[in-house]
Each structure stands twice: as C-alpha cells, then as structure tokens.
Symmetry: C2
Subunit: 381 residues, 2 copies
C-alpha cells in the first residue's frame, strides 16, 4: 500500500510514538495535575516535558504558552473565539480551511465583520492585499501557513510584520506546516499558532495545541476543573489552565512529544528537503502525462508536499477510487474541507485529487504513482 | 503500589485497551470520515462501531446520538453552552464539579440565571427541593449522577420524570457513574449525558462523549471541518457532525470501545457488586479507627466506590503524602475540583482525602489501606 494522504494525518508514525503512547498508558496512568501522588506527578511531569519540547520547537517564550487541545480545529476555535468580540473585524485569505472559515462564519452572526482576501489561482497571497483590507477595527488576521489543497506557502513573516506594526493579532494555522517548515513564533510575530499533533509532528490522532503569546489573555470557550484554584468558580487566569480543562490526553501527548523528538532528530531541514525532492519529482513527472491539470505553485520550493490535480473530465472521487482499488494508492479526493480554496482554484464543482507526502514516503512510491497515472491516462484514451 | 485514585482516572486499564490503541495507530491510521480510501474507511468503521457500542451501552436511539469529545468536561461544556441562552434558568445541585459549575458561572455573565439546590451534608439530594427551584424560564437541570467527593448517588430517575413532565431538559454528568451504575438514557428521561472515557469505562485518557437525545438541536461551541457538506460554511445540522469537528482521537476511541466491551463482558452488575463490597468493607473498617471522619452516605449501596475522609486535625495533603510515601497508597487530597461539594460537607477549608476504587482493586488492598490508617492513627497519638 502507498499512503499519500499525509495532509489528513501522517501514517505510519515513528516506532517511538507507538511506544511512548503505550508506555504512558501502562506506566504513567495517573491524572496529570490532579493529585500529589507519585503516578499523578509522573504524568504531570510527562505533560510538562511535552510542553517544554513544543515550546522549544516553536521558540515560544515558555512551556506555559503551549496549550494542549483535541486537534488543530479545537485550537483554532479557542484562538478565534478567544479574541474576537462583536464589532471586531477579521481578515483571512481565500485559501482557508473550514476549521478557520466555519468558526468565523458563526461569529459573523453576532456582529463580527469578516473580509476574505482573494489569493491567486495558484493559492498565492499578495501581502499588499492584506494591507488594503485592514480597517480601524481589524483585530485579527488569520491565515494558513500552507494550503491543505495546493500546499502553497503563505508569506507569514511579511504578514507578521504588517500585523505587529499595526497592533493587529496574527493567528497562523500550521495544520500543514508544523514539522515541515521552520516556525519561530517570536521571530515571525505570530501571536497565536494552532497546530495539529498528528500530521507533520507525527503524534497520534487526538492531539494538537495552541501557542498563545505571553501576556495575551483569551476568553476561554470551555471552563472546568483544572486542578488549580479549585475554590474559584472563575476559570483561572494563568496559562495553560485558562484554556485547558478536564483530563488531558496524556498518552496522546506522550506520543506527540515523541513525534516532535523524532522530527528534531531527523532535522526539520532534512525532512523538508526530502519532501521537496518528492514533490519536485512528482510535479515533473506529471507534466509528461496527458490530461493532467496540476493546481498550485509550479516549483516545489513554493509549497508543502501537497499536490492537487485533476484528470481530463474524470470525477475526483472516481480517480481516487481507481488509484486505491487498482494500484493500492491512497489519496484524498473532493473539497478537503476547504470550499473557499476550491473556489479560488475554480475547482469547486468536482474538487481535486490530493496527493500528500510524509518523511516516510520514497522516490519509488512517487514513481509508482506516476506509472499508475500514466496507465490510467493511456486506458482512458 | 496501591492505586486508589480511580475517580480521577482508572488505572490500570484492561490489556485489551492497550492493544486496541496500538492496533488503531498501527493498522487503522487513516483519518476517519476524511476520504474514501481503504485505511480512512477502516478508521471510520472503527469509530462508527465505537458509537454503536456506546449507544447500545447507554440505550441511545442510534449511534449518531453519541458525540465524541476530548473528555467529560468538553462534553459538559458542549451540552451546557449548546442549550442555555441569555434569560434561561438552570438548576444544579450543590454537589457539582467545577466542570459543571464553571461553565454555568461563565454564562451567568451573559444573563443566564442559576440556582443551586442545597444537598444534605452527606451529599444527598431531595427531589422536592429541585421541584421548588423550578421557574417558568427553567430550561435545564444539570446534575451529577454520583458525587466525585462522597460518591453519593443522586435520584436521577426521579429528577428525569420531574424534568420531562415540565418540558425541562436534563443533563447528567456521568463522570463517576458511567461503567458502574446502570444508565438507560431513554428509560431515565435523560436528554444529555456527559461521560468520560477514561474512568469507569476503562478507555484511555483523552476520550469522552456526549449523548444527545434524538431531535435536540444544540448550538455548537466549535465549528470546523467535518468531511461532510464541505461546501457549506454553516456547521452541518446532522449529528454527530454538528458537534464533532477536526480529526477525532481514533486510537483513543478504539481503546474506549475496548474498555466498554470489557465492562460488558465483566457485567455492569458484577463490577458494581465488587466495588460495593470493597466500599462496604472499607467503610466498616474505618469505623474502628480513632480520629477518622467519613463523609457521605453510611451505606455503600447509596454511593459509588468513592470515600472521602479526614483524620483528626491532619491536613488532607499531609495524610495523602503519608499514605503515598510510607505505604505506597495513592489517593487524592484537597478539593477535587468541587468547591461547591466541599462547602456542602463543611470541608472547604482543608478538603478531604479521597479513596476511590475500580474493578481491579482487591479486598487485600482495602485491608492494607485500613492497616496503614490504623498505624497512622496510633503513631499520631
């Protein structure tokens, strides 16, 4: 089987991740932060070390600026609803995932204003268009770091400068970039960074997090027990307790920390280089196949390892089915939960077929996929 | 080591649970509901079967009435904020956990009215007091099924009748009861049931869920990608998609399903009998130890396997530390995230030391704990 659906969730995970999850369940089974006995403390330590690992990875001010969530969507909701109030204005791009678009759309019903900056047909964003969209009441710019449909890398550093100069908050959706592109939240002026644990960081599903800039106070979407300030009915003000409540996913977090350690060990640059090579090879191969339309930037350097394409007039689901059933290649067809992006590409009617690679994919797999597409092309003449 | 902190999270988990989590990570690593390829479908099937297992376990109308959440706190927030609007009135007991009290307290700032029905000093609730608290604008009654401090079992069946007759919604917090007490959501007129996955259901941490009665439409606290109706910016109306977004904790859910299967196989009645026996033995033994004050109902039949106590004038944290360091017994001191309950018991100043048992605890462990307390009692004279 060739697994090319890594933009949805990476698979396989490193062996260390499987082992860390099991070890946490078997040997660190206490409830972190909920008691002083040894197994609860051991679990709390494990969670704290994971915070340290992630804080260092993203260059956060301190481990307490990392909040663990259920997934990136939960993190994005926490960020968006944590800062936007009725009367506030928010700017996004036209390449956003529904995990950004749907929470903002919900807020527009209670008086939040939303402007969508149109990207190019390859998904690229012109920072000047963001500047033009800014209004006196703009509170937040929310952008994806890399499109989940075309892989297009957004100019986050430039947008960060624009936002910081004007006192506007910047939320970055790192769903496709965390673990692949270099992210320095302080250096890039990122106020809020939402990341999944189970994609490029190679943690298990059910993990994710939100970096919150030091001093930024969010209104929580959830309240509950934190194991701290228990006598107060008010949710604690300190981070991460303000935004974390109830029992954490300790085994998942252990797995996520092991995943980040794996990425650090491999080296972000090496991972990126490998994935870029695969992407470049695939893009070049696709050029030689009749009937293929590729979306997104031409050069692999301008995108993550995510390639969307269509094939003559074939329905995207049909092509994906052919690849799965005849060639054992697993890809994802359709809209990828990103209707705005598909409108930008002009593919809202049939979607696209998305190929997405991880560090575990190989040149041989790329070549087999190209071969499969060539065969489909020939047989469909 | 003797682990008596099962009310925080059960440990150990059954072997089947560890294996199910690992199997899901290694062999069902696709993103459920996010594509049509075989591994994504296998993951989706695994999640659907877990829904079926839980729906049958709680006698829900259908698997789609089970919504997976991060933990019970997340489920309680989803329920409470999903139904209460400004101007609505909500009734709780004085034994609620902060996972109920804090979200409601947050809503009082935007015009939700809240009345707390005072329980007896053993934590018991008189249904007549609930009736007296009902007002024309009462929209919700939210009660715990069993106190996490004293184990006191609440008359949920009676409250269910009272609520249903008056068209008021009933939310039950099953944090301590799921997997121990019989829960039939239809038979007990429960509209919303929040449950953790990692306590009496023996799933891993990071799991929980919310049962939502058929036809009850909640306002979601989160929006995002669902893999369904992707072209719409409006969160889908169908369950569970309306309340679930982003990637689910597939390995955790696999483990939770294995945990519920374990409970079914053991038999809820047998589990309850075992835990009741342990509780009764512990309660009887405690009577013979000088200086111990036990809180909650006298009879084990009136409580879950949760016992709170204090010891002369000893601080609860100090007693817990002694038990851990000298006798390798792990318990939880303090307020247990339930200040309202401790105010009801009159223990808000120093909290209590909580012992809580699971199906894996033994009579021998109970006797060793009693022996330890006896030694502490003798040495503190």
């Amino acid at each position: 089987m060739i697994y090319f659906d890594n933009a949805a969730t990476t698979w396989p995970k490193p062996e260390e991740v499987y082992r860390a999850v099991e070890d946490a369940m078997r040997n660190f089974g206490g409830n972190p932060g909920r008691s002083g006995h040894r197994m609860a403390l051991a679990a709390a330590r494990l969670v704290y070390e994971a915070r340290e690992t992630l804080a260092e990875f993203f260059n956060a001010e301190s481990p307490t600026n990392i909040v663990f969530t259920m997934n990136a969507t939960d993190a994005l909701n926490t960020a968006i609803k944590g800062v936007l109030k009725p009367g506030d204005h928010v700017i996004t791009t036209s390449m956003e995932h529904n995990s950004v678009a749907r929470p903002i759309f919900a807020l527009t019903k209670s008086g939040v204003e939303w402007d969508i900056v149109r990207c190019g047909t390859d998904g690229s964003l012109d920072p000047d268009d963001v500047v033009k969209a800014i209004k006196p009441n703009t509170r937040l710019i929310a952008i994806t770091h890399a499109s989940n449909v075309t892989g297009t890398i957004m100019p986050v550093g430039e947008i960060g400068k624009i936002a910081r100069e004007r006192g506007i908050l910047l939320l970055v959706d790192a769903a496709q970039s965390a673990g692949v592109l270099d992210i320095d939240v302080q250096g890039m002026n990122i106020d809020l960074l939402a990341f999944p644990g189970h994609k490029g960081l190679y943690g298990p599903q059910g993990t994710g997090g939100l970096y919150v800039r030091e001093g930024l106070q969010l209104t929580p979407i959830r309240q509950g027990g934190t194991g701290s300030f228990s006598e107060e009915l008010e949710q604690p003000e300190i981070l991460p307790d303000r935004l974390e409540c109830g029992t954490l996913n300790t085994p998942g977090i252990a797995g996520l920390a092991a995943g980040v350690d794996f990425v650090k060990k491999k080296g972000l640059k090496n991972i990126r280089y490998h994935e870029e090579q695969l992407t470049q090879r695939f893009l070049e191969g696709l050029k030689e196949i009749d009937g293929v339309t590729v979306y997104g930037p031409e050069k692999a350097a301008d995108r993550c390892a995510v390639i969307s394409l269509n094939f003559n007039n074939l329905d995207s689901a049909e092509l994906a089915y052919l690849l799965d059933s005849r060639f054992d290649i697993q890809v994802r067809p359709g809209l990828h939960c990103s209707p705005l992006a598909h409108r930008t590409l002009g593919t809202e009617d049939r979607g696209t077929v998305r190929f997405s690679f991880s560090v575990f994919n190989t040149v041989e797999e790329i070549d087999r996929a190209l071969e499969a597409l060539r065969e489909i092309s020939l047989s469909s003449r």
